[in-house]
């Protein structure tokens, strides 16, 4: 398979993730869509690593996974805090920084 196939697939997955962030209103699903976009980026990094025959891109992908894990932990902490305070789990209702 040409590397281009992987890159086009990664672009498609990234676009789906971006569309999901724009459409959905639940913060949990928006976090899931961020995961989609990060994973699309990972696929592109690994495809470029394969195209260059170089493993450094794979290190980048691992670091992206670490960043994604941090983002998940903080994001889910925020969602739990919102739920505890009986705030609406809807990003349209939460447009101000102060709760």
């Amino acid at each position: 398979m040409d590397i281009t196939w992987y890159l086009v697939l990664s672009a498609l997955l990234f676009a789906i993730g971006a569309g999901g962030v724009l459409i959905r209103r639940s913060p949990l699903v928006i976090l899931l869509c961020l995961e989609l976009m990060l994973n699309a980026g990972n696929l592109a990094l690994l495809a470029f690593a394969r195209a260059n025959g170089d493993q450094e891109g794979q290190i980048f992908a691992l670091v992206v996974m670490v960043v994604a894990a941090c983002e998940v932990v903080v994001g889910l902490g925020l969602i739990v805090a919102m739920f505890r305070r009986k705030l609406p789990l809807n990003v349209d209702d939460m447009r101000e920084l102060r709760g």
Binding site: M1, D2, I3, T4, W5, Y6, L7, L9, A11, L13, F14, A15, I16, G17, A18, G19, G20, L22, I23, R24, R25, S26, L28, V29, L31, L32, E35, L36, N42, L43, L46, R50, A51, N52, G53, Q55, E56, Q58, I59, L62, V63, M65, V66, V67, A68, A69, C70, V72, V73, V74, L76, G77, L78, I79, V80, A81, F83, R84, L89, D92
Partner: protein, 171 residues
């Protein structure tokens, strides 16, 4: 044979991704993301990123998704209307996503990188294996490794601060 494997992985990844944004119940969205991640790990294997694929399954589809499932179960299946009554959003959001895809595709297909139109160069044994990745990470990318461990520590502390019960707050 390789084409068949690629298309099976691609269909799994695309189907999972579409299910994530199309399903109403967040719990099902999380499960769809697990399907997406497993299919993506198969594609990583085909790109000879064996260690990254294993980490994807263990860390992502395993640990991170368990965290998501717990939170989705904790806050309950909040049924939300998929389409919100913001005027024009129904058409604008998919339009923007399609525009993004077209733009990225033009960038990919119009590139002058000739290496993209092949299967990539011949690689030696052990490409993407844990030994090679570990050597790179602990020698050339040691600072990146240490910085990411610090980032994880900060995120863990931040999550505890965010989710901790305040005094007098009902649990």
């Amino acid at each position: 044979m390789e084409e068949v494997a690629f298309f099976i992985g691609a269909i799994g990844a695309l189907g999972g991704a579409i299910a994530v944004i199309a399903l109403r119940n967040p719990f099902y969205s999380v499960l769809a993301l697990v399907v997406h991640l497993v299919a993506l790990a198969g594609l990583f294997l085909m790109l000879h990123a064996e260690f990254v694929a294993a980490a994807q399954i263990v860390v992502y589809a395993g640990a991170v998704m368990v965290l998501y499932v717990f939170v989705a179960a904790y806050v309950g299946g909040v049924e939300e209307p998929i389409w919100e009554p913001i005027p024009g959003q129904r058409f604008l959001a998919p339009l923007l996503a399609i525009a993004l895809f077209v733009e990225l595709s033009i960038a990919i297909l119009g590139t002058a990188l000739t290496s993209l139109e092949s299967e990539g160069p011949v690689i030696q044994d052990g490409f993407g294996a844990p030994a090679a990745i570990g050597e790179l990470m602990l020698e050339k990318f040691l600072i990146v490794f240490e910085a990411s461990s610090l980032l994880l520590l900060v995120a863990a502390v931040g999550a505890i601060v965010l989710a901790a019960r305040r005094q007098g707050e009902p649990g």
